[in-house]
């Protein structure tokens, strides 16, 4: 009970203060307190998580908080890791949200009063509470506490997604989709965990862990599949990802950052906790399924991101991609854990966890940057942006760091975790014992999927950064952009500092991650990576040094610049008109747009993406051979949503219409339904007990 009690008191106090702040009259004061509270909660969660990760586990039980059950909190290294990640993201997003409300908001409707949109009391109270709920979810120690905290987190996030519902109609639709899918996921998790608790005889995680070996394979498989569906939906895995590209663009950017970089990780946490810890591993085919779903999610996510022109939709699909890569690592780790190869399983799990931290860092930075651009220009459409590097230089540099990390290139932070993941996958076939056919087929396909994802990810972020920030602006709003205010830059710098630290010194993070492996016995807890400047793998051959690569690149570039300047008689660089084929002066509108940039990829993958083209030609009055007006529209819909969901929605509507027949308006009939239902339940209890 050492540090947990005071920590919880602090969280409870923060929650109470945030509710009390709703009564503050000035929106500015409310924004400041809400943001500062979120950051304080975040820092607290980060410290508590790091303390738990470095060894000081704690637990607490209370029978007075919840009816019919007890509230158990149990913090071990795995939950500490996720608390730390969520806390870090909340710290950056909280600072950012202080300066976010804009006195002359862009893209708003007629209802931009001082207490609407991001300045509304609901949104400002919900933000710190959301952070508190997210930090407590990994600390839950029994099924009831977990489910209650999970639902609390979902409801608060829904309130935050709907913040700007008066300003745009799409926000309402996005909220409906999000609410439906998150509650469908909750139902799946609820059923899974209740079946597990019933089969184990107890609802506390400690008790379930001990009773897990006595479960029948059918029960544990059912539980795993249900839980994987529910948590996978939260993590944004295909085909349950459709809420991500709808909800994340419509939420305010710091909420998108919190959801995309912190909340989706809790889906991963759930799978790790139930799959590896509570159920004790499981047969190999579970993890092959996880690997397959992860690979498909990664490929589909990055493909959609590479052709997206809405910046926040691009980032949302990129979240699906990165979570897909993480689940590829988790699945592969599970396969090798089931085969008993703990060296590879440990390495792959460390790679997956490191990629989780990396993704949290760069996704936060990218969403906060997109929010700065949106606030400053009112634009989310890459096709209209451009030239922002000169108007918003600090934002451009910080977003550049995030884009470098997201693209998985050295010297970014995404490269280290992708390298570790690849090393784990390529060593899978080179043991002395002949591996079996399933692994021999799955591993090359997994490597191919990871490779194509990495390549397309690079294309995506070159497009996002290059078209959005470089060259000249393509619209008047982009020309009128101004630099983001100080608190926004501070929030982004925190995330950028985390990215840079992990990129240059990843080993300081690998040690704590290995401690988290101890909570997952099937994976094992031995050392996977060692070394100081050079990362060296333990038990298998492989080494790489991110620091040397970064120093080499930067130092080499500086050396080349100096030498070439000296050799070239020191002539300064002159600015001149860009080449326009010898006569035309190129206008900024003639630059490549994001749609144009992604056109080769759209064409190459058109059987997967199925872009919709719409051409409207208005002919001249005088003759059909002359064109007065031409309108071209391209749309890349989410094909999985278009094919998979309408039948399900039709089924639900049909069922609802069937149920409507029972509702004829007569109160007497409704009372009779209640009486009959109660009698049936009483009889069932009497018969079964």
């Amino acid at each position: 009970m050492s540090t947990l009690g005071p920590g919880l008191l602090l969280l409870a106090a923060a929650a109470a203060v945030s509710v009390a702040c709703a009564w503050l009259p000035s929106p500015r004061a409310r924004a400041v307190t809400s943001g500062v509270l979120t950051s304080v909660v975040g820092v607290g969660g980060l410290l508590a998580g790091v303390a738990a990760l470095l060894g000081s586990a704690a637990s607490m039980t209370s029978t007075r908080l919840l009816p019919l059950s007890e509230a158990v909190l149990q913090v071990d290294p795995l939950s500490g890791l996720f608390m730390a990640v969520v806390g870090g993201v909340a710290a950056a997003a909280g600072v950012y949200s202080v300066g976010y409300p804009h006195p002359h908001a862009h893209g708003g409707g007629a209802t931009n009063g001082p207490s609407h949109g991001v300045s509304s009391r609901t949104a400002q109270v919900a933000l710190p509470l959301f952070a508190v709920a997210m930090i407590l979810v990994p600390a839950a120690g029994n099924v009831t506490t977990f489910l209650i905290l999970w639902e609390l987190m979902a409801v608060l996030s829904l309130a935050l997604v709907l913040t700007e519902h008066r300003e745009r109609p799409e926000v309402g639709a996005a909220g409906v989709w999000y609410a439906a899918m998150t509650h469908a996921g909750l139902v799946a998790i609820l059923i899974g965990l209740v079946v597990l608790a019933d089969a184990a005889g107890t609802e506390s995680f400690a008790g379930i862990r001990e009773a897990a070996s006595g479960l029948s394979p059918a029960t544990s498989t059912l539980v795993f599949l249900l839980v994987f569906a529910g948590f996978g939906s939260k993590a944004g895995l295909v085909p349950l990802h459709v809420w991500l590209p709808r909800a994340h663009p419509e939420a305010p950017s710091y909420v998108s950052a919190l959801m995309s970089a912190a909340m989706v990780n809790l889906g991963l946490y759930g799978v790790l906790r139930v799959g590896f810890d509570l159920l004790g591993g499981g047969p190999r085919w579970w993890w092959l399924l996880v690997l397959a779903v992860g690979a498909v999610s990664a490929l589909y996510g990055v493909l959609q991101a590479s052709v997206a022109t809405d910046l926040k939709r691009l980032l949302a699909y990129s979240t699906t991609e990165n979570l897909g890569l993480i689940f590829v690592g988790v699945g592969a780790a599970g396969i090798f854990a089931a085969a008993g190869d703990s060296t590879l399983a440990g390495l792959l799990m460390v790679a997956a966890l490191l990629h989780t931290v990396n993704h949290a860092a760069f996704k936060t930075l990218l969403f906060l940057g997109a929010g700065a651009v949106l606030r400053s220009t009112g634009l989310r459409d890459l096709d209209k942006m451009g030239g922002l590097a000169r108007r918003m230089p600090v934002t451009a540099v910080l977003v550049g760091i995030g884009a470098l990390g997201a693209s998985g290139l050295p010297p970014g932070n995404g490269f280290v975790s992708e390298w570790l993941l690849l090393q784990g996958l390529i060593h899978s076939l080179s043991g002395s014992a002949t591996p079996d056919v399933m692994i021999a087929i799955a591993m090359p396909l997994a490597v191919g999927a990871v490779a194509l994802t990495a390549g397309l990810g690079v294309a995506t972020f070159v497009k996002a950064f290059g078209v959005g920030f470089l060259a000249r602006s393509r619209s008047a709003e982009a020309t009128a952009a101004t630099e983001a205010p100080r608190t926004l830059r501070l929030g982004m710098s925190l995330a950028a500092a985390a990215c840079a630290a992990i990129a240059l010194a990843p080993l300081m993070l690998v040690r704590p991650l290995e401690r988290a492996l101890v909570t997952m016995p099937p994976v094992g807890g031995q050392s996977t990576v060692h070394g100081a400047v050079t990362l060296q793998l333990s038990g298998i051959t492989g080494s790489m040094s991110p620091l040397l690569i970064a120093l080499g690149l930067v130092g080499g570039a500086a050396l080349v610049t100096v030498l070439v300047r000296a050799l070239g008689a020191g002539q300064p660089r002159r600015t001149a008109l860009v080449w326009g084929c010898g006569g035309t002066r190129l206008s900024p509108r003639m630059q490549y747009t994001a749609t144009a940039y992604a056109e080769p990829l759209t064409r190459d993958f058109d059987h997967v993406l199925r872009p919709e083209h719409d051409i409207n030609i208005t002919h001249h009055q005088e003759s059909r051979y002359l064109v007065e007006n031409l309108r071209y529209r391209q749309r890349v819909p989410d094909r999985i949503e278009a094919r998979l969901y309408p039948p399900l929605l039709e089924l639900a509507t049909w069922w609802a219409n069937l149920a409507r027949r029972m509702q004829n308006g007569s109160v007497h009939r409704y009372l009779a339904y209640g009486l009959v239902g109660l009698l049936v339940v009483l009889v069932a209890i009497a018969v079964t007990s």
Binding site: V447, G455, A459, S543, G556, Y592
Partner: protein, 318 residues
């Protein structure tokens, strides 16, 4: 121990000098072979070096509206290629930088170079720059799976993706190393080498038709010393790619000890191997036309298939 380390460092420096000096000569040799086969006199093998000398003295120009990305990209590209030239075992496997000579790290560094130029192409604000940039990243993205899967096929036998280990294993145990898997991987990697170096049939380096360009369109706005740096980086990139292919599939001659004789022999053998490959590539380009851009993904998908077959056969035909 100090003696060996001094010679190891000398080997690295020798490798860098050979690559740096020899890369434009390689390009000149390829152009000369093409010229002779086409019935022309040709400009001579030393023309690229003369061009570099001329360009260094000319005035660099930046388009209006470009940012520091355009100005800094040439230095980053050259720096990344030089870093690869230092780390990869071309002349000797005893480099003190062996710790970073990992196949995947080298592939990623090559990609960093492409991306720097792609961003610079977008930064010019011209339609040609954007077009070249878009095509460059498409080809790079589609070549990536083949590179990694072929690297997988090669590292399965050796148990490591470290380039020094791959070269030494090939030298030490040729019967184990050379198998159907290696042949398939060699074909797959040759297609990727041609794609990444921007040669026919994917890209014609000597075309003047802007709408068919990939690499040349990206660097269309560069002039003066910026252009000299970019051209040098491109020729070093070609030399590195050919050298990587040569050392992975014809590994004999690479020095495994840091003795002066072995190092000199290694440098000579490396130069000869790369020259031979360059002549073969240049000669084959005479008989080939550039493929349509939208057929290039088919070619790269075919090379990916070869790569997957390489991995499967390395397992099933064990």
């Amino acid at each position: 121990m100090t003696g060996t380390t001094v010679w190891a460092v000398a080997g690295v420096i020798l490798q860098l000098v050979v690559v740096l000096v020899g890369a434009p000569i390689l390009v000149g040799l390829m152009r000369q072979v093409r010229a002779r086969l086409e019935g022309r006199v040709g400009a001579g093998v030393g023309q690229p070096w003369r061009d570099l000398r001329k360009q260094l003295r000319k005035e660099p120009i930046a388009p209006e509206g470009s940012t520091v990305v355009f100005a800094a990209a040439p230095a980053i590209v050259l720096s990344s290629t030089l870093l690869i030239a230092l780390a990869v075992p071309f002349v000797a496997t005893t480099s003190p930088l062996d710790g970073i000579a990992d196949l995947y790290a080298v592939v990623s560094l090559l990609l960093v170079g492409s991306i720097a130029l792609a961003l610079a192409g977008l930064d010019t604000g011209s339609a040609f720059g954007g077009m070249g940039s878009s095509r460059t990243v498409t080809v790079a993205a589609l070549a990536e799976p083949t590179l990694l899967v072929a690297g997988f096929a090669l590292s399965v036998r050796v148990g490591s993706s470290n380039l020094g280990s791959l070269v030494e294993f090939g030298q030490r145990a040729p019967s184990l190393f050379f198998s159907p898997a290696t042949v398939l991987a060699a074909v797959a990697l040759w297609i990727v080498v041609v794609a990444e170096a921007g040669r026919l049939p994917i890209d014609n380096p000597s075309t003047h038709l802007e709408l068919t360009m990939i690499h040349e369109a990206t660097i269309l706005e560069y002039a003066g010393r910026d252009l000299a740096v970019v051209e040098l980086a491109s020729s070093i990139r070609l030399a590195i790619l050919l050298g990587l292919w040569a050392n992975l599939f014809v590994p004999w001659g690479v020095a495994t000890t840091a003795a002066p004789g072995a190092l000199a022999l290694g440098a000579v053998v490396f130069a000869v191997k790369v020259a031979v490959l360059g002549v073969v590539l240049g000669a084959s380009e005479v008989f080939m036309a550039k493929w349509r851009l939208f057929r290039v993904p088919e070619l790269l998908a075919g090379s990916f298939l070869f790569g997957v077959l390489a991995v499967s056969s390395s397992f099933f035909l064990a």
